[in-house]
């Protein structure tokens, strides 16, 4: 199992997958990682729809321009807007649902990587089409699709901004200077 910082550093978006299915106990570990994500006011506004049915996966791929390639499964991360509004008001419904779901997504992406799986987060999908396909009830909104499977490629590192460009000390513009820039954690 990868060390946390190593997992963060070496995770890559994977877009080519083997057709080999992902065992349910492995999927459950990914779901558990999502379940333990940070969440404002302990809202836990997420719902996870695991899709393994080939016909449903194909339909999702067809209405999702960002779903490039085929995977043996996907996890659709949805937010429960109604419950979030009841407990968290407008901030809960409009912001925390998205922030929380994205934190759950990152946990799941890292868990997938630690379990030797590859994954790709997809936001380019038709929301009404996805709701129709998954029969999502009113108030449940799809936020992100995670394509998941065993990787069939090893992507190179993408360019990243050095810390000098994005990290500051005490106030904006005062460059964080103790780092070497692109240093690995």
């Amino acid at each position: 199992m990868l060390d946390t910082l190593e997992a963060i550093r070496t995770r890559r978006t994977i877009r080519k997958f083997k057709s080999e299915p992902v065992p349910d106990d492995t999927v459950e570990k990914i779901l558990e990682a999502g379940r333990w994500a940070p969440t404002g006011s302990n809202l836990q506004p997420w719902k996870f729809v695991v899709v393994k049915n080939r016909a449903i996966l194909d339909m999702i791929r067809k209405i999702s321009p960002g779903y490039l390639g085929a995977t043996p499964m996907a996890i659709v991360i949805c937010s429960d807007k109604a419950t979030a509004y009841a407990k968290g008001g407008k901030l809960g419904r409009d912001y925390l649902t998205i922030a929380d779901c994205m934190m759950a997504a990152e946990n799941m992406l890292l868990a997938a990587h630690a379990l030797s799986l590859g994954a790709c987060p997809v936001k380019s999908f038709s929301t009404p089409a996805l709701k129709e396909i998954l029969e999502l009830p009113d108030g449940i909104e799809p936020e992100l699709i995670l394509m998941v499977g065993y990787p069939d490629e090893t992507p190179t590192d993408p360019p990243k901004h050095p810390l000098e460009k994005i990290a500051f000390l005490d106030k904006y513009g005062k460059v964080w200077s103790t780092s070497k820039g692109g240093k690995k954690p």
Binding site: R15, K62, I63, S64, P65, L68, S124, S126, A129, P158
Partner: protein
């Protein structure tokens, strides 16, 4: 094991329709560079149509173009220049092929 459903030309056409319709809608909200990306990805998908619509002839030239698109299309996310060069190259090759087939 359940046999895979054979994809017909009609199935694939509908898939292209779904891709283009959802892309059109998505482009309203998505980053501007996704517009050219969807178009060139759509072109790459279109080149596969003869695989399913047997009345169409497979075209080696188009497959060569598709290979170049697939090789470089993700550069849209990290190297705009490389992406643009690939588009320019595809346009030029298609133009030369148009000329060759027309004259």
């Amino acid at each position: 094991m359940k046999e895979e459903k054979k994809i017909t030309g009609d199935d694939y056409l509908l898939e292209l329709v779904a891709f283009l319709a959802t892309s059109a809608r998505g482009c309203i909200d998505e980053p501007p560079s996704y517009g050219p990306f969807r178009l060139i990805d759509g072109l790459s998908r279109l080149i596969d149509l003869p695989k399913y619509a047997t009345c169409l002839k497979d075209d080696d030239f188009l497959h060569k173009i598709k290979a170049q698109i697939e090789d470089k299309k993700f550069s849209v996310m990290f190297d705009e220049r490389e992406f643009q060069d690939m588009l320019d190259s595809v346009v030029l090759q298609v133009t030369k092929e148009l000329k060759r087939r027309s004259l």
